[in-house]
């Protein structure tokens, strides 16, 4: 049924996944009770029979993560010279990957915070693992600037810490702003994620059979007992964290875009960068949520909790943000012409038809042509296999977007005498692929040891929560 489209004459009585009232896909499949939700989600964590596929996945992913360890070890032994970064292409893979990973994280915060504020109930099924995705993506992203400084063991110099040299950060630089933006983002994401899991850890504590599991989840649950007074403060705190994460997530990619936009380089020095970076981040992030959600819902049989409705909605968000990204691309070209700046126009011409022009057309194909021409059709938006492939296409496309921005602006700047080229080395590739292994390993550990779908939030969406016989007028009065 997952691949079935919804014709207008569709009979809701036939397909249980169609809501008979709205004619839309149901957010969660009918028939769930409080008990069944608890059982279904906690079983994945508490089972003594870990699926073999999980072990297989972890072995492959951690094998790839080993490449990361090797690449970092070699980098630390030899220095950043093992990378392809040089003058003029001084930023290279390190910054491309940094921006790519952190952009992926943004969808998690969008789902957990912005969609909460907009009361999008469907987000409840996917917010937990989208938040986990955010954190692991930020972990991978954070590696690159720290390694790029050359002596990562001195990375703490980026922070405003008192030191015997009496040297302090320079707060007029966007690179210093980055440190604040990314560290705040990482901290708040972890806190939001953990606070969200506390009641579910309480459920796991109460369901666990193994003494060790009882003990560990008992510690993690902080003694949560579901008291109403606690719940009310908890709800207030969640809402406030969502309200704070919303401007935060918008600021993080804005600040990252300042790294480029504040520079005077053609192709970077543009005011469209902040909104266009944020939209691109959410675009790629939703693609990554789909890349993760589609195999996981299949593997753990969560199709009744992460339904076609979710996939359809995520595809719609991708369509919306993709259109903003397309507008950004268009505006870049227009402004390069309209500015009447010789350098800007040359940069754009070189970006399209220069030695690395293939990268530009690849990103147009992957980010604009394929997704934005196809996502209009509900048939394709609800086709799980197509969405999975498309999500990978967009992830690749968004990586090329950052590649094009970083490389084609740097290697052809104002003076032809300082032109050069950029070629990544095997260590660049190894490190990048290694972070993918690290990301996947962390994610697999998360789905095994933490509740991947928030049980308490799913329960709030069940019909059994409806309370009859309460004086409605009284409630209205009180809330007013």
């Amino acid at each position: 049924m997952a691949t079935k489209p919804l014709p207008p004459h569709h009979d809701p009585a036939v397909d249980p996944m169609i809501d008979p009232v709205t004619g839309e896909f149901a957010v969660i499949a009918p028939g769930h009770t409080f008990k069944s939700v608890t059982e279904k989600i906690s079983r994945v964590v508490l089972t003594s029979h870990t699926p073999l596929g999980w072990f297989f996945g972890l072995i492959v992913a951690s094998g790839i993560a080993t490449l990361f360890v090797i690449a970092v070890t070699w980098l630390v032994l030899k220095g950043v010279g093992v990378w392809g970064v040089t003058i003029p292409g001084a930023w290279g893979f390190a910054i491309i990957n940094f921006v790519w990973w952190i952009g992926i994280g943004h969808a998690g915060t969008l789902i957990s915070a912005i969609l909460l504020l907009f009361k999008q109930g469907w987000r409840n099924s996917i917010n937990r693992f989208a938040e986990a995705m955010t954190i692991f993506a930020v972990v991978c992203a954070g590696m690159f600037p720290v390694l790029h400084v050359g002596r990562p063991w001195l990375g703490y110099w980026l922070l405003p810490l008192p030191n015997t040299m009496n040297v302090w950060p320079q707060f007029r630089s966007p690179l210093a702003w980055d440190v604040f933006a990314v560290s705040t983002y990482a901290t708040i994401s972890v806190v939001f994620w953990y606070i969200g899991m506390v009641p579910d850890f309480g459920t796991l504590r109460d369901k666990a059979q193994l003494p060790l599991a009882k003990y560990v989840y008992g510690l993690l649950s902080l003694g949560w007992r579901g008291s109403t007074r606690h719940w009310m403060r908890y709800e207030t705190a969640s809402l406030l964290l969502a309200g704070l994460s919303t401007p935060l997530v918008l600021s993080v990619h804005t600040v990252i875009s300042f790294d480029f936009a504040v520079a005077a380089l053609p192709g970077w020095h543009t005011t469209i960068f902040p909104p266009y970076f944020v939209a691109g981040a959410i675009y790629s992030g939703f693609a990554m949520v789909l890349t993760l959600a589609i195999p996981i819902r299949k593997f753990y049989h969560m199709e009744d909790l992460v339904t076609v409705r979710h996939l359809d909605n995520m595809a719609k968000v991708m369509l919306g943000t993709g259109l903003i990204v397309a507008y950004g691309y268009g505006m870049e070209v227009f402004m390069a012409w309209y500015s009447a700046s010789h350098w800007e126009w040359f940069m754009m011409w070189n970006r399209m038809f220069g030695p690395m022009g293939w990268g530009y057309w690849l990103l147009i194909l992957f980010n604009i042509a394929i997704p934005l021409l196809t996502l209009w059709w509900r048939k394709l938006r609800t086709n799980v296999a197509y969405l999975f492939l498309l999500s990978i296409v967009v992830n690749i496309g968004m990586w090329f977007e950052r590649f094009v921005i970083v490389v084609t602006s740097l290697y052809r700047d104002f003076l032809p005498s300082s032109w050069g080229t950029y070629k990544a080395t095997r260590w660049d590739y190894l490190l990048f692929i290694g972070t993918m292994g690290l990301f996947t390993s962390l994610f697999l550990l998360f789905v095994r040891f933490a509740p991947m779908i928030p049980m308490n939030e799913i329960k709030m969406m069940l019909p059994a929560t409806k309370i009859h016989g309460i004086d409605a007028e009284e409630t209205v009065e009180e809330t007013a």
């Binding site: 302090w168 933006a181 708040i188 606070i195 403060r233 207030t236 329960k459």
Partner: protein, 180 residues
């Protein structure tokens, strides 16, 4: 006023949130005040029935935000003007527009941490021990699919026999005594 030593209260278990809320409202009307509901997810009607409307998490968050803003802004000003003055392309030492961005981030950082840890602190968490965990049925359902109302022995209205009889009229699955 029959209260046995070492009793925390009487815990009534319900199958539906509606039954629990109904009992809570009745208990409040009967004059009980020291009571609490325990549910697997937030039940707003229970909060109304308990007359719990406000909390101080927003105030703490606001204070955290103001603290973060002032901390970051004064720190940057002190570093850039006094501790380590640098001439960056002739810009003034007190380049306040540039300082807004880290100050903005720390406003969010401090406010967010205050919201999260303030909520835990006001809730008295972490609290590994609580008398309710002594009740045999509490951990079987409180975080899963059952709804509990606990009338606490500290309430002046509390009477071991009368309160039990009072709770039993609401079709509770069970009413058990919770030991301290």
């Amino acid at each position: 006023m029959l209260v046995r030593e070492g009793v925390y209260g009487l815990l009534a278990e319900f199958d539906t949130p509606g039954a629990m809320v109904h009992a809570t409202e009745a208990a409040r009307d009967a004059g009980y005040r020291r009571m609490e509901c325990y549910t697997p997810y937030p039940v707003e009607e229970a909060a109304s029935a308990l007359d719990v409307h406000r909390n101080r998490v927003p105030l703490l968050t606001l204070m955290g935000g103001i603290l973060g803003l002032t901390t970051a802004f004064t720190m940057q000003t002190w570093v850039s003007v006094i501790a380590y003055p640098l001439n960056i392309a002739g810009r003034p030492l007190f380049s306040w527009p540039a300082f807004i961005i880290p100050a903005y981030e720390w406003t969010i950082l401090f406010a967010g941490l205050s919201a999260a840890f303030g909520m835990l602190a006001l809730n008295g968490l972490p609290q590994p021990y609580h008398p309710l965990f002594n009740a045999p049925n509490f951990r079987l359902g409180a975080t899963d699919n059952k709804f509990f109302l606990c009338l606490e022995a500290i309430d002046p209205q509390f009477d071991a026999n009368e309160t039990r009889a009072f709770l039993e009229q609401f079709h509770a699955v069970s009413v058990v005594e919770v030991e301290l």
